[in-house]
Symmetry: C2
Subunit: 214 residues, 2 copies
């Protein structure tokens, strides 16, 4: 349920159409919370029904044959945003495909195990680079959304606004590094197991699927 609050937070930076919102979303919170634009439109309508945002229908283009809807935070929406920031949520249970597979790698061959760890490393290397680039941008105040936020906030608050975001993305960099290191130790492990194994590429014989009694 972070989507609605991410949208409220984005709207605090100023009125936007769903389309603009989706664009900003992709360039900021999408790093930590993914959503399709179709879901964003749906959620905006829901927020509107609940009175957390308000929409004004505006003309599009000169001839105005079409319209767009610009959303703003209502007072109730701003209150909800604040409530959410103060609320300590209990983190959802861990759910990670890569780790469940990692615990069952013995059902595959050594080369398959290596492929898994290499893919894991490559994935988090790419993320690390993205996060690092984003930290740089934030520190230079170079992201358009951040500038928009800063314009509306009093000078004294600027440091905190930037610092919190930088801290979050640095945390993601640290996390990515941890995953890369884990994948590398995984590759070393596979090498050791392959050396110790009698012969062939398999750690154990493949699962049989034969029936047996309990």
């Amino acid at each position: 349920m972070s989507l609605r609050h991410a949208l409220l937070a984005l709207l605090e930076a100023g009125a936007m159409t769903g389309y603009e919102l989706a664009k900003w979303f992709d360039q900021s919170v999408a790093y930590v919370w993914n959503a399709q634009h179709s879901q964003i439109y749906t959620e905006l309508r829901k927020l509107e029904r609940e009175g957390l945002v308000e929409a004004r229908t505006l003309p599009r283009g000169e001839k105005a044959l079409a319209t767009k809807r610009a959303y703003t935070l209502t007072r109730a929406g701003a209150k909800e945003l604040q409530r959410w920031v103060g609320e300590v949520e209990q983190p959802p249970p861990l759910r990670d495909t890569a780790y469940v597979k990692a615990t069952y790698l013995e059902y595959g061959s050594f080369s398959e195990a290596r492929a898994q760890f290499r893919a894991h490393r490559a994935h988090y290397e790419a993320l690390r680079d993205q996060f690092e680039a984003h930290v740089d941008e934030l520190e230079r105040g170079a992201t358009a959304l951040l500038r928009r936020r800063l314009e509306r906030a009093p000078e004294e608050g600027h440091q905190a606004i930037i610092a919190y975001k930088v801290h979050a993305y640095r945390g993601l960099v640290a996390r990515a590094r941890t995953e890369i290191a884990w994948a590398e130790r995984g590759l070393e492990l596979v090498d050791r197991l392959a050396d110790a194994a009698p012969a062939g590429d398999a750690a154990i014989r493949p699962p049989s699927g034969e029936a047996f009694e309990i």
Copy 2:
């Protein structure tokens, strides 16, 4: 879609009823993939319809007024398990409530920000301890499920079976430590921001929710 494969992997250790499966599940894969028992029963029926598992109805107790259903892997199920282990999946997009909130902490007070980081730290400290305990158990070969697996596997494979699991849980320990360190740096950051702030507990004025033009 890891639930089905986790169930297949558990069944590779021997035939089980849904109830037993749910119990083993809670003691092993639940660390990395949560599921309610109701979902497990549903998924088992689905796997049965798809021919990946087979069920035999067995009597319960002496009078046998009730029955239970014991599931076994079919050949197709074993094949699917192997296919899955070899398959390199693309990791689902990141989704972390704590981090989206962390990027918007300026909407709350410093004490709220501290509470968030303290909760984060406490959560991952507890997880770290659980994961460490689990690594210990695995290394001592002390978990019942692992023993069941080892009984059915050839001697040469034992090392790999244990090593992969230990590696996965050590990775989770490392991850938990990274989160703890991040929370601690977060607390330091809040202290610095609070020192630098003019007065009061708030980083910026609360969001107004007043309408404005675009």
